[in-house]
């Protein structure tokens, strides 16, 4: 039987609005695939009530890590949890990035917008093990929104940064930067995670250039296990168009299956 587990927080790094937590969980570390997520119970009490979903950011030995932005009541309380404290987690859940086939020397682009960088570190390390030629694009509003740049570089991963205010790297949107760089480095595969508007632009580029792209979608989740039907996005899958549960079909979805909402256009 799959069970929620009490795990210990073994490390915590904090930036202005962002937090990186390491959790000792041999059970999840041994099974997790890049792009999968866990559900964390913020408190044992009734407020905040629901678990929150977090992409698995890294797997190292018996530990996993999550990376998040403090943006609401749940993530703000989670950001206060200290090393040595216990967390109730459920996972790994969902379907990760498609890593079947040969990635050796394949040109692979990873694009993360803000906190959307979270699943891409685990993915980049897995792709590096598969000898892929990786370029990671990492965009945010300001340099404060790119705290993980050094972590990628420390693992020998090339990072192309952009900020909307120009405080670090290319000035503008990460999608514009990627579009520009693509002239020299046309990827065989694209993997991305970030705000819907960013993902929509990437899906458009991928469609025009005919490059397979997989996007990790964010959604408000009630349970993470397919019971509540709250986390739906509109997809066209196997000829059927409708609301599909992101926790079951995703969170990683092939870009050409996603039907974007009017507000993302």
């Amino acid at each position: 039987m799959k069970k929620a587990n009490q795990v210990i927080i073994t490390d915590r790094k904090m930036w202005k609005d962002y937090v990186l937590l390491s959790l000792k969980s041999p059970q999840i570390a041994s099974k997790a695939l890049p792009g999968q997520f866990i559900m964390i119970r913020i408190t044992p009490h009734s407020y905040p009530l629901l678990r929150r979903p977090f992409s698995i950011h890294a797997v190292e030995g018996e530990s996993i890590a999550i990376f998040f932005q403090k943006s609401g009541i749940g993530t703000n309380i989670l950001g206060l949890r200290k090393i040595g404290e216990m967390l109730d987690i459920l996972g790994p859940l969902g379907n990760g990035f498609g890593l079947k086939g040969d990635f050796s020397h394949k040109k692979t682009v990873l694009i993360g917008g803000g906190r959307g960088i979270a699943p891409l570190f685990f993915l980049a390390n897995s792709l590096a093990d598969r000898k892929a030629e990786i370029r990671t694009f990492y965009g945010g509003k300001t340099s404060y929104d790119l705290p993980l740049k050094e972590n990628f570089e420390a693992n020998g991963l090339k990072v192309f940064c952009s900020t909307e205010d120009g405080s670090l790297g290319y000035k503008g949107l990460i999608t514009d930067y990627f579009n520009l760089e693509m002239r020299q480095f046309r990827p065989d595969r694209i993997f991305a995670c970030g705000p819907d508007a960013m993902l929509k632009t990437i899906a458009d580029i991928a469609a025009i250039e005919n490059i397979p792209a997989e996007l990790s979608l964010e959604s408000i989740m009630g349970c993470g296990i397919g019971a509540c039907w709250g986390c739906v996005k509109r997809l066209k899958k196997d000829g059927v168009t409708g609301w599909f549960r992101i926790c079951q079909e995703g969170p990683v979805i092939p870009a050409d299956q996603i039907i974007w909402a009017e507000k993302d256009k």
Partner: protein, 302 residues
């Protein structure tokens, strides 16, 4: 060994803990997490005759100790359910209850007609109380006469017991519950969710695409308990209580107030093992107090 079994008259349960419709998928979603055989029963997600698309997202918003949902009863329809899902469920040794929905009276009857021919079903729960299907939150359970008429019609078509699920969005819950009883319902279950909403003050937009949704979770428990207490006091048929139950203690409150069984809803989202943990807690409660039969505690408020 405590005897946790409950006799509803028309149906025996191995314990009073039933997973609530809409929070338990079609049941099989929970098989990786718990042994479904341990449950008193489970009620599958509401089924219309045809498949149903549901509402656009956002469908969920969390509020203080509560959850507002406007899923809109997305589902595969009763035909596909009978062919694809039901065969996977019927070997479980627990009471399988089907939540029956309808746009109009005839659709309720059509769903029941189709299910009558299927094996392995213990009862139907008649969903006349979902607040997020119609834009204005309207449903048959808001009116005693409509309640009477739907229950009467479905009871006539049904070869199985009927549990009518009631809405709390009424002035007097006992009046609607009494109508269901008079129309021949074998039991009532209450409460469904409270019609509710939330707004983002920064954008001034509603937090649900449907604007209105149904509030569930611990936030509603005291009001749900009061309604169960009132309904149980007036009815001859059994009352199944629900509303924010998360622990064995919560479940005991409903039983003591007069409910003969309980449904566990939102708690399933927080902990997939919630139902079996509540059963264990009920067992421990009885053992510690040397209560041989849990049923003897029902309606014993001092």
């Amino acid at each position: 060994m405590t005897d946790l079994s409950i006799d509803l008259g028309f149906m025996k349960l191995k314990n009073p803990v039933i997973a609530a419709s809409g929070t338990f998928g079609y049941g099989i979603e929970f098989a990786p997490f718990i042994d479904l055989n341990h449950l008193g029963g489970f009620i599958v997600k509401g089924l219309y005759y045809s498949s149903r698309e549901g509402n656009p997202p956002p469908r969920l918003v969390e509020t203080s100790s509560g959850l507002i949902n406007a899923i809109g009863l997305q589902g595969i329809g009763v035909k596909r359910f009978s062919e694809e899902i039901l065969p996977c469920l019927i070997d479980y040794d627990t009471s399988i209850i089907i939540n029956v929905c309808g746009e109009h009276e005839d659709e309720y009857a059509a769903v029941v007609d189709l299910l009558n021919h299927q094996p392995g079903i213990s009862a139907y729960e008649l969903n006349i109380s979902c607040p997020n299907v119609k834009k204005d939150g309207k449903c048959p359970a808001l009116d005693p006469e409509t309640t009477y008429s739907v229950v009467k019609l479905v009871k006539k078509s049904s070869t199985r017991p009927i549990i009518t699920k009631l809405s709390p969005n009424v002035t007097d819950i006992t009046e609607i519950a009494f109508s269901a009883q008079e129309a021949g319902s074998d039991a009532v279950s209450l409460v469904n969710t409270f019609l509710a909403m939330a707004i983002d003050p920064n954008t001034r937009k509603p937090k649900l695409a449907n604007i209105l949704g149904g509030l569930s979770g611990p936030a509603i428990k005291p009001i749900a308990l009061r309604m169960v207490y009132q309904a149980a006091g007036r009815l001859k048929i059994p009352v199944i209580g629900m509303g924010g139950i998360c622990t064995g203690g919560d479940a005991l409150e409903f039983l003591i107030a007069g409910a003969r069984a309980v449904e566990i809803g939102t708690a399933n989202f927080i902990d997939p093992e919630a139902t079996v943990k509540i059963i264990d807690e009920l067992d421990n409660f009885c053992r510690e107090r040397k209560i041989g039969k849990l049923e003897t505690i029902i309606g014993t408020m001092k």
